[in-house]
Symmetry: C2
Subunit: 352 residues, 2 copies
């Protein structure tokens, strides 16, 4: 049965961000998010409507994939495709298929990541692997990956399929690096950045490139937009890392310290360990415990906060967001360009 | 470091088969296998030489993939690509890349299958997941899949990439069906066939099609070759199912009853259960035991043999091999056509 989600003319993320930005200093951002929402609403609806739907006789693999996709998520990557297509000739069917593809690649990596990391919740719901099993999630990821690549192939936008192959390879090799560093408390900032550039930023980079190519944006500007995407991706991940330590677990859908217990070192933790050696035995205890002691978590969080690493993480995110925005200035002014700039600002001001 | 395997002018599978066929009635097949080996030896060397090689700084994911690929295996699918290209303009770089791609897709499915089935040996060696971990094997499968698709894309042979997307989807959905039937002793022959057509036959079908398209074989003959591939694939799997029950474990690299204990019902078991209801509780005991009782296994094997299902399995394989060979008669006579016919015969006479 085709599952239906309420189709909104105002993507939920934007509304949530808008309500958050009604505070004095962020009021300008709230207004800009309203403009962004109005600009992309029809595109996001078209994307939503054309997302894969379940066949009546759907297999476990298809149902597992749909479970994740129907939860929606932020759909930030498809939004990026829509916006960069609007920097050129506009959002059409080809851009729509590329936008769906980037979301499917993202979903495929989430399915495989949750198996690898033994993840339990995703998008505020039980992870697909808990409902359908690890085996089904592995094949569901394969299925989404192939469906994504097929859509890109059929869109026939020159260069984007080849680049997607390279980007997925980058993503996989970054996952490999992350696995090899798992639980290694001597991970450096440079290693963190190398992982993030592959794992997160590469797909943002592709989203920008794909939309721009679909819109016939000139090659030099496509290149600029790739740089924008890469910086946006790093900013996005830096904020994600902060949310793991400082975020409201209900909001972020991830349990506090989850990344750390999965052996993934977040940016603030890497920086904190460099500054406060006492953290090493403390974190080792938290990671090794069956159920982490809340007192130890609180103490670790206190030490991490004392080192100033959370502020540094936010500054890193801001720096990349600023660099992303600065790159945009090479493009002619337009509503879509402003909207991309808004996304960069909103990324670093996500609800924490 | 690039790993090297001895490059043979005579593929090991063929030599092994040849030595086996020196018996009286199979002598004709032995001679034909010699012809086949001479015909494809340069192509198989070219394929071997152009297979992915490890970079010096290779990640765990790359090393895991190479572990499996360097074990070689039968390389039957690449051989099919080489042969069908020779039905047309011949084996060239494009056919070589398609041949490598089909082997990489196959390897990707083996990596994911071994994680799903908790497989311990593969190609007579420890499964990659035992050496590098399940997580690495999942990403290694993703990596090989993307590399395969990229090679097919770059070969730029019309139609083959689109068909490969469809074939991989078929494979994944068949894996899903197999998972859903796991451990269900009421699986029917029709369900077995549906799983095998997707899981095994679809990729053989693509191998035939891809090589033929690369060789510029006319579309009608390409279609014939696809039918040949589909039948060959079913014959191949039917024999594989027999080997699980009747084969020498050292030779097949799979432990006796392994499929059954993984919950996969092989063709002879499905047929036997229909004919001998006493097998149901017996098999349930074997499957559920931590370590299966050898006496129970022997008794189950005796009952399975009594039902005549092993003979039926061999007859099924023969029937599909004969149908495959009959389809070839629509093609003009050639050495490559004879070689394909030889492969069909050799498939049902694999060492058991």
């Amino acid at each position: 049965m085709p599952t239906t989600q309420p189709i909104t003319t105002d993507p939920p993320l934007l509304r949530r961000l808008q309500s958050l930005c009604r505070g004095a200093e962020l009021e300008g951002l709230g207004r800009r998010l309203g403009d962004l929402a109005n600009l992309v609403a029809p595109d996001m609806n078209a994307i939503h409507t054309a997302m894969p739907r379940l066949r009546p006789e759907a297999s476990a693999v298809e149902r597992s994939a749909s479970h994740l996709i129907d939860l929606g998520g932020k759909r930030l990557r498809p939004m990026c495709v829509a916006l960069t297509s609007r920097l050129g000739t506009g959002f059409d069917e080809r851009a729509r298929e590329l936008a769906i593809a980037v979301e499917l690649v993202h979903a495929a990596t989430l399915l495989h990541d949750d198996v690898v990391d033994v993840g339990e919740t995703r998008r505020g719901a039980p992870a697909a692997r808990l409902i359908f099993g690890n085996a089904v999630s592995i094949f569901a990821g394969d299925w989404l990956l192939v469906d994504a690549l097929r859509r890109v192939r059929r869109a026939e936008v020159e260069g984007v399929l080849d680049q997607l192959f390279d980007v997925i390879e980058e993503m996989v090799l970054a996952e490999s690096l992350q696995l090899e560093r798992r639980g290694r408390l001597d991970t450096t900032e440079a290693q963190w950045l190398a992982i993030v550039e592959g794992k997160t930023a590469a797909l943002f980079r592709w989203a920008m490139y794909a939309g721009a190519r679909a819109g016939g944006v000139d090659p030099e500007h496509c290149h600029t937009l790739e740089r924008f995407g890469a910086d946006l991706g790093v900013a996005f991940q830096a904020v994600d890392d902060l949310l793991d330590l400082a975020g409201d677990p209900e909001r972020t859908g991830k349990a506090l310290f989850a990344d750390l217990r999965e052996g993934k070192l977040t940016y603030p933790v890497i920086v904190s360990i460099e500054r406060e050696p006492k953290l090493v035995p403390l974190i080792e205890q938290i990671v090794e415990a069956e159920i982490p002691d809340p007192d130890l978590c609180r103490e670790a969080l206190r030490l991490i906060q004392q080192t100033g690493s959370l502020d540094d993480g936010r500054r890193l995110a801001l720096r990349h967001a600023e660099r992303a925005k600065a790159a945009l200035l090479a493009l002619p002014p337009s509503r879509a360009r402003d909207a991309l700039s808004t996304i960069a600002d909103a990324t670093v001001h996500r609800p924490a």
